[in-house]
Structures are given as C-alpha cells and as structure tokens.
C-alpha cells in the first residue's frame, strides 16, 4: 500500500521507481510467508524468479532514467509532457 501511494504521488522518477521495488518486496514477503505456512517450496521458487526479474527491471529502468535526464535535465514526472494530445 505504501508502495502504491509512493508510486502515485511522488514527483521524482527515482522515488517512483523505488516504490515499485517496495511493491515487489511486499509480494516477496507474502509469498515466503505463505510458502512457510503451507510447507510448500514453490512459493520460494517464485520469489527467486521475482528477484531475478526485479534486478533486470532495475537495470533497464535506471538506464531509461539516465537517458531521460540527459535529454530533459529533469527528474520530475509532471514536467515530461511531450506526448499530451
């Protein structure tokens, strides 16, 4: 919930991105705890893959942020309005 709040309300792209990581972590916590209580290993396998994909996503997203900052010299989402119709 905090992650969603941060994603929707912060102005800085980097903080929004960290909120996405927070949401992934919340999912990981719930998966590990359910797999602990149901005594099943598959939930933790899923956590393993989520961490892999989160690492890939962080690399790609931060590369996009760097490219964006180089072109626009701003990290605020409300100043990126080229695509408005």
């Amino acid at each position: 919930m905090i992650g969603v709040f941060g994603f929707l309300t912060r102005r800085n792209v980097i903080i929004m991105f960290m909120s996405v990581e927070l949401m992934l972590n919340a999912v990981n916590i719930s998966l590990v705890s359910f797999s602990h209580y149901l005594q099943d290993m598959r939930g933790q396998i899923l956590v393993f893959f989520i961490i892999t994909v989160a690492a890939a996503e962080a690399a790609i997203g931060l590369a996009i942020i760097i490219a964006l900052f180089r072109n626009k010299t701003t990290a605020h989402v409300d100043e990126m309005n080229e695509m408005k119709g």
Binding site: M1, I2, G3, V4, F5, G6, L8, T9, R10, R11, N12, I14, I15, F17, M18, S19, E21, L22, N25, N28, I29, V32, S33, S35, H36, Y37, L38, Q39, D40, M41, R42, Q44, I45, V47, F48, F49, I51, T52, V53, A54, A55, A56, E57, A58, A59, I60, L62, A63, I64, I65, I66, A67, F69, R70, A75, H76, V77, D78
Partner: protein, 170 residues
C-alpha cells in the same frame, strides 16, 4: 511469546521504514532507509526458515540494486529537488486508491483457507538445509523457467547498455 514479539518488531520496522522511504525529501536519504529496510526484510526471511532467500535478498537487493540506485541518484544532479514540493498536486487521490487496495487485500486475507500442506515441513528443511531443498526443486521441476530467467538477464544487460550509451554520430 518470543516469536510474536520478533514478528511484531519486524512488521513495525518494515512499515515505518517504507513510509520513510516514500516520504523523504532527499533521494539519498530514501536510498539509505531502503538499505535498512532490505536488511529487515532479509531477517524476516531468516525467521521464516528461508535462509537462501534471505542471502540473495541481501546480495541482490542490498548489494546490487541499491548500489545501482545510489549511483543514479548521485549521477543525476538533484539540487533543485530539495527546494521543490515533493508530491504532485493530487496526492489525496493516490492515498485514496492505495487505501482502497489495502481494504481489498485485507478482505482477501479474511477469506483465506488452509489448503493441504506440502512435504516441506520445518523439520524437513532443517534436516535437509534450505538451499539443498530449494535447489532440488529449482533444478528439476523448474529448470525451463530457470533458463528463461538467464535469457531475461542477458537481454537486460544488452538493453541497459543500449539505452544508457551516448549516441555515436560520426
């Protein structure tokens, strides 16, 4: 009594730290609170008998992803960030949407029913060690997704280089 106490501590610490991450004004402070948050989450995993997951949480999240975040925060010059308003104008709408999501999740947890449990009991994992048990499942039943994950990482490496590279105009 003691397990509840530990879980209460970790749950409170995780919630407080994530609020701090989202509301800090300086992005560097946010990253630092996030580092502490990832260590708390790793200790919660240890508490849930998932040593291997706790180890890769520390290595991948705290070691790799967070350092990447810190590099980018330091690379982009964010001086004016400290002076401007942190949140967008319509932040109560975001608060309302996230509160509604929380209500949905709480209602979903209320209808949680215990399904038949698997064979990985606490005693089995302690006898077999968690890494071995996880690896046996990962390399037998989930071998194909594991290979796909490696391709995803390869594509991420290439994509990050292509995106972050300066355009070479000859």
């Amino acid at each position: 009594m003691l397990p509840e106490l530990f879980f209460g501590y970790f749950a409170t610490a995780i919630i407080v730290l994530s609020v701090l991450v989202v509301t800090m004004k300086n992005p560097v402070h946010s990253v630092m609170w996030m580092l502490l948050l990832f260590f708390q989450i790793a200790s919660l995993y240890l508490f849930l008998n998932a040593e291997f997951i706790a180890a890769i949480q520390v290595i991948v999240y705290a070691g790799a992803i967070l350092v990447l975040f810190l590099f980018v925060v330091l690379l982009l010059n964010l001086r004016e960030e400290l002076k401007t308003n942190r949140f967008i104008g319509s932040w109560p709408a975001g608060l309302f949407i996230s509160a509604a999501l929380l209500a949905i999740v709480i209602n979903a947890i209320k209808s949680f029913a215990v399904s038949p449990t698997g064979k990985y009991t606490v005693e089995f994992i302690q006898k077999e060690t968690h890494t071995k048990a996880l690896g046996q499942v990962l390399y037998t039943d989930f071998l194909f997704p594991f290979e796909i994950a490696s391709i995803v990482l390869l594509i991420a490496i290439i994509g990050a280089i292509v995106l972050a590279k300066r355009k070479m105009r000859s």
